[in-house]
């Protein structure tokens, strides 16, 4: 198995918000399963990529969706010219080669998928492959990481206590204004002043959370807006398209955010 294949070669840019790098490093030293919590698009995935790079470990990411089943993670038999062949799923591969396995948005996956990760997250650190009749002992470097957005507001997408309680957790939130602007600059090469204004627009929208907005404008959307502007799209169009239209259909909120854009940028 080629673990080099999963190594991250160049440093993914990550701007730390606090001491999360140290905390993660400590958790990894004990191979504790990790849960990263926070609103959508605030840098959770980026952080894990950065940590995998920093620790020099391979990273296997699975973006979960509702069609993911247990065997999609664990593996299955496939037909072959000569007969059949077992193919490890990403989780199994990670356990074998000692990768960090990042299950992104795990709540999206079907409930029964959760159960297969349980034996990997306690002292056993094993993964039973029932079909194959094999029990994989996790490689000493293996670590399981899941991400979880507590703001989802759906009980169908809430994690069971029995699952939650197997992880240590790090809380993420949108970076503070100055830092977030730096991120936009680094990510897109946009002008610093424009980045600051984009962040200001983001902040106004975040204050409407609970007043008709389920989630504020994410860093990811701000990065999108910045790259559109960098690519020559007019500021106002870029902001409306990347920041306002995706987050709301409410006419009053739209009018308020459109106004905020015009007020922040002198357009």
């Amino acid at each position: 198995m080629d673990s080099e294949h999963y190594k991250i070669e160049s440093e993914p840019f990550y701007a730390p918000q606090g001491n999360e790098i140290d905390l993660y490093t400590a958790a990894y030293a004990s191979r504790l399963p990790m849960m990263v919590k926070g609103p959508t698009g605030c840098g959770k995935s980026r952080f894990i990529e950065h940590m995998a790079w920093k620790l020099g470990k391979p990273l296997i990411t699975v973006a979960c969706n509702e069609d993911i089943t247990a065997s999609d993670l664990v593996g299955r038999y496939l037909l072959d010219a000569g007969g059949t062949r077992w193919l490890d799923g990403p989780l199994t591969v990670a356990a074998r080669i000692g990768a960090i396995c990042y299950l992104d948005e795990i709540v999206e996956a079907r409930q029964d998928t959760m159960v297969v990760i349980h034996p990997l997250t306690d002292h056993r650190r094993t993964l039973p492959l029932d079909k194959k009749g094999e029990r994989v002992e996790a490689h000493p470097d293996f670590q399981l990481v899941i991400s979880y957005n507590p703001g989802y507001q759906s009980l169908m997408k809430d994690l069971k206590q029995s699952t939650k309680q197997r992880f240590v957790a790090l809380d993420f939130d949108y970076a503070g204004a100055g830092l977030e602007a730096d991120i936009l600059v680094k990510e897109t090469g946009i002008d610093k002043a424009v980045a600051g204004k984009l962040v200001q627009v983001g902040m106004t929208a975040r204050k409407l959370k609970g007043h008709g907005l389920d989630e504020g404008i994410s860093t990811r959307l701000l990065v999108y807006a910045a790259s559109l502007i960098k690519g020559g799209v007019a500021v106002r169009d870029a902001c409306r398209m990347a920041l306002v239209r995706p987050v709301t259909d409410d006419a009053d909120i739209r009018s308020t955010l459109d106004h905020a854009i015009d007020a922040v940028f002198e357009v």
Binding site: Q153, M156, G210, H211, H259
Partner: protein, 764 residues
């Protein structure tokens, strides 16, 4: 405009009797409604307000127009007073009395019917007063005496006009309404038939003039946008939003009123036309930006130390500082503010003939804000520069403006400043307030008599008429970080029912909404038909599984024979419990609404019940309130096992408000029922209009902390709690309790639509 609501009000029979004695009125029908009206009045009005209310009702009774006007007064006035102040009580009853002394007595019922809607639309006492004056003016001008007789003929147009008032007010500002009425009187005053048609909106010119008067942006139509504007752009997270109170611009003959703000809120015009290319909505935003700037950056100045000229100058420099900071924060507002700012020309004012003080200051203001402004005066240039220098580095402060303003006055003073004819042209800055909040006066009048709150009447639990013995629940005391075991007694009882008709009526009223909800329900439906895989016998072959079996077979394993699939309906395995806050405050009519919170909740819950019933989820409803820790009431409305039937609807239709909100205990009790369900997913919805509180607890945080603890306990037991808050100020505490699991409904009137939608999105 807020009258504090006693959180827990119980109308004792003796009190009711005393109140009845103060109402001089002997209609037998009164007995049926008095207790209800009085309970509401007692909850909404101060003791003085109650006196005025009863005196007012007595007066309305005395006019001899039957019971209807009395009933209308009794039913509507508590909410009217709640919205615009208790002064509305004598205002309306005296108007009715006065009207009864005219030939137009027959218009009284119609007049009273308009008051609630007019108040809602107009939003302040002053506006309501103007409305009443306007109606009287119209009435008097259209009442004719017949020459030679002593007799008079009542106004032909009045009854029709009153009928149209709700519609007219939704289209016109008060000024527009006045212009429209004036047109009608002027052109049709002498033709009873035409006049009738005009005021009933039956004639072509009536509709045309209505269109003509319909201009500008009505505050009432944009209130939510402006709230959002303040939240998003000017308030900090969790900061309380000031109320916006509208006034009318054109009724004061002597001087045009200006916006201002004080402790009660921000006073804004009820209508704005477009001006200099700025839309009415943006004018509101400019005004709010300026006022928000004052609230954020201005400090108080002691007025006594300054001459009137100095004060004007100080206000102006401070306004300029605020505008500069506003534009610094939001540069895009520059275009709007400058478009609304006058551009006076230097020579326009003749210092020999008139006082140029305002003119001079307006030039300075423009000079400071607009780098492209062309003016010649070297003094202005110097002060504009000194101003800029003060603001280069930071925000400067009000104190600096005081210094600058006083030296400006000293430098530019002219004899003619004292002249009585002050030049006003091009000196009014549209979006600025009157700066009253800048000043403090040292010789403050005697301290307001601090009235003692009546000793809390500890109500003797009119002791549990409840059948079941109490259940005891613990409560969390955050001050000692410990649990008080068996602290709270909770009594569960079956909520009395009336007739299911009310709920059916509420449902019937919402058929359009129900149809829309039905579409969403249908989208959830595919889940009803779930594929059941791995069946030996099924309706069709499951190709995936069949191939896998084949693979197993080839690989020498025992193939799985379960290679068929079938379909089964109902994939949802959810138990939902809905907990409704029935504390006294839900009897309030929120500003801008016509129904009480309770009525809106009933409507919303009716729709939700209907929807959940359609989905087939397990479902329970209960109400709660509390009167100290010794008596938490938990009212059973629907059990999990019960059907959504007439009994349930009858209980729902009979909900009543009273007492306080000890939420933790109620959550724990609802949780213990949910805990016993076997469903895979358990959802506890709490519908409330305020924070947890009770009369035996003074520390506001205690019950908030306890409720947060209760939510954590529920979470631990696998119960997902979600709060639907109708409290606009909920931001301050709701996330402390419920984490991310909450929704604040700002526009309470849309609750009936929002609640079922919310439920469906939570369980999607």
């Amino acid at each position: 405009m807020e009258i504090t609501t006693p959180q827990t009000f119980v109308l004792q029979p003796e009190a009711l009797k005393t109140y009845r004695e103060h109402l001089t009125c002997s209609f037998p029908q009164l007995d049926d409604v008095f207790a209800d009206c009085m309970t509401e009045a007692a909850a909404l009005l101060s003791p003085k307000g109650i006196d005025d209310y009863l005196a007012g009702a007595s007066r309305v009774c005395m006019i001899g127009r039957g019971f209807e006007p009395v009933l209308t007064y009794l039913e509507n006035m508590p909410r009217v007073a709640r919205q615009v102040g208790a002064e509305a009580l004598p205002l309306i009853s005296q108007a009715v009395w006065k009207m009864s002394r005219t030939p137009n007595g027959c218009a009284i019922p119609g007049f009273l019917q308009t008051i609630a809607e007019a108040t809602r639309r107009l939003g302040s006492l002053e506006q309501l007063q103007r409305y009443v004056d306007l109606m009287f003016d119209m009435m008097e001008r259209t009442t004719r005496s017949i020459p030679g007789f002593h007799d008079t003929i009542p106004s032909p147009g009045m009854p029709g006009l009153l009928e149209q008032i709700p519609f007219l007010l939704s289209q016109l500002s008060l000024e527009g309404l006045r212009n429209w009425i004036n047109y009608g009187i002027h052109n049709h005053g002498d033709h009873p038939e035409q006049q009738r048609d005009f005021f009933q909106l039956q004639s072509a010119d009536s509709r045309a003039v209505l269109q003509r008067e319909r201009h500008g942006v009505l505050f009432a139509d944009h209130e939510r946008k402006l709230d959002l504007y303040l939240w998003a752009m000017w308030l900090e997270q969790g900061e309380e939003k000031p109320d916006l109170v509208p006034y009318s611009e054109s009724f004061d003959e002597s001087r045009k009123p200006q916006p201002y703000f004080d402790k009660l809120g921000i006073r804004v015009p009820d209508i704005y036309d477009d001006l200099n290319g700025v839309s009415g909505l943006d004018r509101y935003r400019a005004l709010l930006a300026h006022i928000a700037g004052h609230r954020r950056w201005s400090g108080p100045v002691i007025a006594d130390n300054f001459s009137p000229f100095q004060r004007i100058a100080i206000e102006l420099f401070e306004d300029c500082r605020i505008d500069t900071l506003v534009m610094r924060r939001y540069p895009g507002l520059r275009r709007i503010l400058l478009s609304l700012h006058p551009t006076p020309t230097g020579e326009a004012c003749d210092p020999e003939a008139e006082s140029c003080i305002r003119h001079r200051l307006a030039i300075l203001s423009r000079a400071v804000l607009d780098p492209d402004y062309d003016y010649g005066d070297p003094d202005i240039r110097e002060f504009a520069e000194r101003f800029q220098n003060l603001l280069v580095e930071g925000e400067s402060e009000t104190k600096d403006m005081v210094g600058l303003a006083t030296s400006f006055v000293a430098r530019t003073r002219r004899q003619s400043d004292q002249l009585p004819n002050v030049r006003y042209t091009d000196t009014v800055v549209d979006y600025r307030d009157d700066n009253r909040s800048l000043w403090v006066f040292t010789e403050i009048g005697s301290e307001e008599a601090s009235f003692d709150l009546n000793e809390k009447q500890v109500q003797e639990a009119d002791s549990p008429e409840f059948g079941l013995p109490p259940r005891h629940y613990h409560e969390w005391d955050y001050t000692t970080q410990s649990i008080r075991p068996d602290w709270v007694s909770l009594y569960e009882s079956l909520h009395p029912g009336a007739s299911p008709a009310l709920v059916d009526k509420l449902l019937a009223r919402n058929t359009a909404l129900a149809a829309r909800l039905k579409q969403i329900l249908d989208m959830l439906k595919p889940q009803w038909l779930v594929r059941v895989r791995y069946q030996e016998d099924g309706s069709e072959l499951d190709l995936d599984v069949a191939i896998r079996s084949l693979i197993d077979f080839r690989a020498g394993h025992i193939p799985d024979p379960r290679i068929n699939m079938s379909h089964r309906s109902d994939g949802r395995d959810i138990a939902v419990s809905l907990l409704i806050d029935l504390s006294q405050s839900v009897a309030d009519v929120p500003a801008g609404c016509q129904q009480t919170v309770l009525e809106l909740s009933q409507e919303a819950v009716a729709l939700l019940g209907w929807a959940i019933d359609k989905l087939g989820d397990e479902f329970a409803i209960a109400g709660f309130s509390s009167n100290t820790r010794h008596e938490v009431r938990y009212q059973h409305i629907k059990g999990f096992a019960e059907k959504w039937d007439d009994n349930v609807k009858a209980r729902l239709g009979a909900l009543e408000a009273g007492y306080s909100t000890r939420m933790g205990a109620a959550l724990r009790h609802a949780g213990h029922y949910l805990d016993a369900r076997r469903a895979e997913k358990k959802l506890l919805l709490v519908l409330t209009d305020g924070e947890p509180s009770d009369i035996d607890v003074d520390d506001e945080c205690l019950l908030i902390e306890d409720t947060r603890k209760a939510v954590q306990e529920l979470d631990r037991d696998g119960i997902y709690t979600h709060c639907i808050s109708l409290d606009r100020r909920a931001d301050e505490y709701v996330s402390d309790i419920f984490g991310q699991h909450y929704t604040v409904i700002d526009n309470i009137e849309r609750l009936p639509e929002k609640l079922p939608q919310l439920f469906m999105s939570l369980t999607k």
